[in-house]
Each structure stands twice: as C-alpha cells, then as structure tokens.
C-alpha cells in the first residue's frame, strides 16, 4: 500500500485565528478513514484545503505523489479528488439522471458536450443502482428528500471514479433509516475506493469506522482504531470534559 494523500505541516490562519495549526496526516490507498472532532476542530477547513477551496497558510498537500499547491478546484477534481458538502447541493432543475450524467461527462471535451445525450452510460447506470435512485431517475432532483440528495451526490462522485472521496458529514440531519442506508452505501463504496469521512455522529462512527483521526483546535489529537480512540482519556476530555455542550452539537 502507498499513501494516496499526505498532508505535511499544514496551517490555515483566518484573520489571526488558527483554524488548522500544523496538521500532519497520511491516508493510505484503499483506506476508510473517519475524521472527527468537536466544533471548530478544523475538519471542514481541512477538506476545503484539500479540494482547493481554501489556500493553506503554510504546509502542503500531496495527492498521489503530486503537490496540490496553487491548483484550482476543477483541476483537483480532474486529478481524482471528489467531495460532497454538508448541505448537499444537487442541481434541482435537472433530473436525477441528468445530474449523474453531467458528473460522468466531466472528462469530455467541451465541444463534444454540445451533442445530445443518447442512452445511459455504464457508469451512470451503476451509480443509479448503487444509490438506489433508479426509480427516481427521471424526476427533477428538486423533489428529492434530504437523504436522497446526499445519495445522489455520492452517486455523482462515483460516476467520476475518483481516487479519493471526501464526504463531509454524510448523515447529518438524516433519519434513522436513512443513516442505515447511508452506512450500507458507504460500506459498499469503501470496498473499492479510498474514502475520508467527516462525521459527528458517534453511533454511526462506532458502526462503520475502523481508522479514526481526532482533530481538536486545529491539531491532530490522536489517530487509531475506534476502540483506541474511544478509550483515550484526551478524547473523552475533549468530547465530554469541561464543555458539556460540544459532544452533541453538529457542524464545524
């Protein structure tokens, strides 16, 4: 196994506030890594840096042997990094099928997009199957429920066969059933993809995570298996200690 992504000495400072304060993180190819931490730990900022939305103040991100410094968002996607967002954004006026097809076509030259779509490509059909959205293929994405939108987003990523998937709180705001289905989806996706999941939901973490990295105040607190992390006194202090409210709140 070789590292798919290496983050070295990364810091992000917003107006004097150190959102990320010297993080080193390596994720191996094929891994399913959970990234947790209380509010303001820097989880989403970390994903933003990897995907080019936020520029690091110091340090660098090396993806698949290549530094991502200075690359724009779409170029990073083209290298094989896909992400979802906390508040899922799908294109409401396009149908589920069109959303997936648009994602799947991202490597085509622009001029070839001016031809009308005929049929359904294999990648799109697979994604419809994996996400269980086949029945809704011709409905506008605007009618989807919150859970279905997240699945559609994940499906859109899958059509692009990324080398690394970054999922930002995929089960936030979901019902119990939806969580369960998302968990199954995640398990099947993780079979043949490298995935980093940001998650707040401890129950979800216990069921589906193996490797966990805990962030706290912009630093890596501890890295290890779920059990190791759960039993670590520092993690307990961060989550359950002095400030009681932190453990149950969401967002970052």
């Amino acid at each position: 196994m070789s590292p798919i992504i290496e983050i070295r000495g990364l810091s992000v400072v917003f107006d004097g506030f150190r959102a990320i304060d010297g993080i080193d993180l390596t994720v191996e190819e094929g891994e399913l890594r959970f990234l947790i931490g209380p509010n303001g730990a820097g989880k989403t900022t970390l994903v933003d840096v990897i995907t080019g939305l936020t520029r690091p103040t110091t340090g660098e991100v090396v993806f698949d042997g290549r530094s991502l410094a200075g690359l724009r968002e779409h170029s990073i996607v083209r290298l094989g990094v896909g992400r979802t967002f906390q508040t899922s954004v799908v294109f409401e006026e396009l149908t589920v099928l069109e959303n997936l097809d648009l994602a799947a076509s991202f490597r085509r030259p622009l001029w070839s997009l001016t031809r009308r779509r005929r049929g359904i490509s294999e990648a799109v059909a697979d994604a419809l199957e994996t996400t269980g959205l086949r029945e809704l293929a011709d409905r506008p994405a605007g009618v989807l429920s919150h859970g279905q939108r997240q699945w559609l987003e994940i499906g859109m990523l899958l059509t692009q066969s990324p080398k690394l998937l970054l999922l930002d709180e995929p089960v936030a705001g979901m019902s119990k059933d939806e969580r369960e289905r998302t968990g199954e989806l995640l398990t099947s996706v993780a079979d043949d993809h490298t995935v980093i999941v940001i998650e707040h939901d401890m129950e979800f973490l216990r069921r589906y995570a193996s490797q966990v990295t805990v962030l706290h105040e912009g630093k890596v607190l501890i890295e290890g298996s779920v059990d190791q992390v759960r039993d670590d006194p520092r993690v307990q202090e961060v989550y359950l200690g002095r400030k009681r409210g932190d453990a149950v709140s969401t967002g970052s």
Partner: protein, 369 residues
C-alpha cells in the same frame, strides 16, 4: 406522448409559415420592414435568453455587440457608396484621409466576418478576464452596462471616425441591390426571418444538449459545478461570446433594414429595453425571448404612435409586473393557464399546485469555513 413530441416542431412550423408566407402577403412594405426590425431585436433577445435565462449572466450591455456588428456593416456600406472617395460624413468633419481602421472594411468578406467575429472576440476576452475572477451576478451586470455607456461615449467622441451622434446613415447600395427598392427590403425581410429561425434552432439544440444542462447547472450552482471538475469560467465565456455574436449579426442585419446605426440605438437604454423584452416574453425559454422582443417592439411602435412619452412608463410598469407576478413571463403565464385548464374538468376541487418560482428556488452554496 406522440402528440406532445410533435407539438414543438408543429408550433415551429406554424410560426415559420406565418412569418415566411402569411406576413409577406398580408403586410404592406412599411409594416413588413418594421417586422424585420423587430426580428433583428429578437436575434439579440435570443442571445440574452441564452446568456441570462439559461446561463444566469445578466447581460445589460448587448447594445455594444449589436453596435459592433452594425458599425462593421455600416462602414462597409459607406465605403461602397463612396466609390473610392471618402464617406460623406468624413468630408463634413474635415477628415482628409481614410482612417486605417476603415480600410479593411472595404472588403465585404472581411466586413461580414467582423460582424460576428469582432463581438465574439471582444466578449471572449472580456469573459475570460471577468469570469476567471469570479465576477458574477449584479457586478457582472453593472460591468456590461458600464461597457455600453463607455462605448457610446467613445462613438460620440470620435466624430470623424464614427459619424458621432448621427452615426452612419444614407446607405444606397447593398451588394449591388438598390436599398430603397421594395423588392430589396422584402428580400431582406426573408433573410432576417430565416436567420432568426436558424439561430433559434441552433440555440435550442445547444440548450437541449449536455452543454445546455451544464449551463443550467452553472446558473443554479456555479460553485458546485467546479467540484464536478468543470471550469465554469470557460463555459460562461463560450456562451457570452455566442450571445455577443448573435447581437453582432443582428446589428449587421439591422443596418440595411432600418438604414441607420447610431449611438442612440445601442446605449444603455436600448440594451435594457431588450432585457425587459426577454423578461416579459419569458426568459427561461428561448421562444419567450423572441416572442418578447417582437411583442415589445410592436407595442413600442403602436403605443408611441399615439402617446409619445407614455411608452417609457408603460414599459417600466410592465417590467415590474412581470418580475413580481409572473417571473416566467408570457410563456410562463400561458403554461400555467394550460395546466389550469387541463386540471379543471377532471378534479374540480383539486388543490392548487405549489408555486414553482424559479427565482426563489435557487440556492447559493454556502462556503463553509
């Protein structure tokens, strides 16, 4: 299913027959000329529909590209009329030598190419600069409007080069045809109508393709599109350039049809009027843009014939009404009416369908930190 599939082409054929057969038979030459003029505006409107309705780029300065096309055509016609001499207005302005800028326009191929390529090139350069910096929304709209204002100042200021406030007029000869003859004007009408139809079909093809889906996706979530691996700046630049090319072509057709191109025809106000027309017709459908331009053009002419100043107020009022009450314009109203009629006989007590307001349904992705 078969019926609905036929409805689009059927309607298009009906409109084509109306425009190419009925109108030339029924309308007197003066009115046919006016219709040709409205269709020139409709071509600009089509470009606005593409950029604004589909792509979300509110273009308030299409007059610039209309003008570039119009002046390119006008310069050529002036040079042909001058027969190797200086164009009349240059002599009046005391210009003694043909400016270098004018010289290549004596060549009809160059002039016709510049009609489309000039506006497209300028729009492409501007688009790349602006869209790469992620200038959009109101800022982009203001920028295009400022461009229109600046263009007019430039044209008025360079009297000897551009004819100043009067612009270019007094054309006599169009590729060997007498411009004043009814037959020439009639032929021009057919050219304009056919060009409008072809551009409409081309634009429809674009909107129906993956490219069109991508454009709508950019309109509704530009930031999200980036994370699908597309560069929105490129797509928007292409569409902005296409809409500019359409405006340029419209300007070039306008010149022989109406017989003049001047700053008053392409400043801020005429540019805005066309945007209003597109909104009134229905900006989310290409047909709405064309319909709006023709209807508003016709309304302007007939209303101004009776109350000279009233039109401006009526136009403003209409715009406010459309934006607040019917954001999808005339076409949107027609569609709602059709739905209401189709629903009534079956279920008299059916609840009203939820409002489908596109403007409020739009979401901007929050950039989380």
């Amino acid at each position: 299913m078969n019926l609905t599939r036929l409805k689009g082409p059927g309607l298009f054929a009906a409109v084509a027959v109306l425009a190419l057969v009925v109108a030339p038979l029924v309308l007197e030459p003066f009115r046919l000329g006016l219709l040709a003029k409205y269709l020139c505006f409709a071509i600009v409107a089509l470009g606005i529909g593409l950029a604004w309705g589909q792509g979300g780029m509110l273009v308030l300065g299409q007059g610039v590209f209309f003008g570039l096309g119009g002046y390119a055509m006008g310069m050529h016609l002036k040079l042909v009329d001058a027969q190797g001499d200086l164009p009349d207005f240059m002599i009046w302005s005391g210009v003694e030598q043909l400016p270098a800028l004018w010289k290549p326009f004596a060549n009809p191929v160059f002039a016709l190419a510049m009609v489309v390529l000039g506006p497209m090139l300028i729009a492409a350069v501007l688009g790349l600069l602006v869209f790469r910096q992620r200038v959009r929304g109101a800022y982009f709209a203001i920028l295009t409007q400022a461009l229109a204002a600046a263009f007019v100042i430039l044209l008025v200021g360079r009297q000897g080069l551009t004819g100043g406030t009067n612009g270019l007029t007094n054309f006599f000869d169009l590729f060997g045809q007498d411009l004043a003859a009814d037959s020439t004007q009639r032929g021009l009408y057919f050219v304009v109508a056919i060009v409008t139809g072809l551009l409409y079909l081309g634009a429809r093809q674009l909107v129906g393709s993956r490219f069109g889906r991508l454009l709508v996706a950019i309109r509704d979530g530009e930031d999200r599109v980036r994370f699908l691996g597309y560069d929105p700046a490129r797509v928007k630049t292409v569409v902005f350039a296409i809409s500019a090319g359409m405006a340029g072509l419209a300007g070039a057709l306008f010149v022989p049809v109406v017989g003049i191109i001047s700053p008053a025809l392409l400043g801020v106000v005429p540019s805005l009027e066309l945007v209003v027309a597109v909104a009134v017709g229905g900006r989310f459908a290409l047909a709405g843009a064309i319909l709006g331009a023709v209807v508003m053009g016709y309304a302007k002419t007939s209303f101004s014939e009776q109350f000279a100043d009233g039109w401006l107020y009526l136009q403003g009022e209409l715009f406010i009404l459309v934006m607040t009450l019917a954001p999808k314009g005339i076409l949107g109203l027609a569609a709602s009416a059709r739905d209401a009629l189709a629903r009534r006989p079956r279920r008299p007590t059916a609840p009203k369908p939820p409002p489908t307001d596109d403007a409020s349904g739009r979401r901007v992705m929050e950039e989380v930190g």
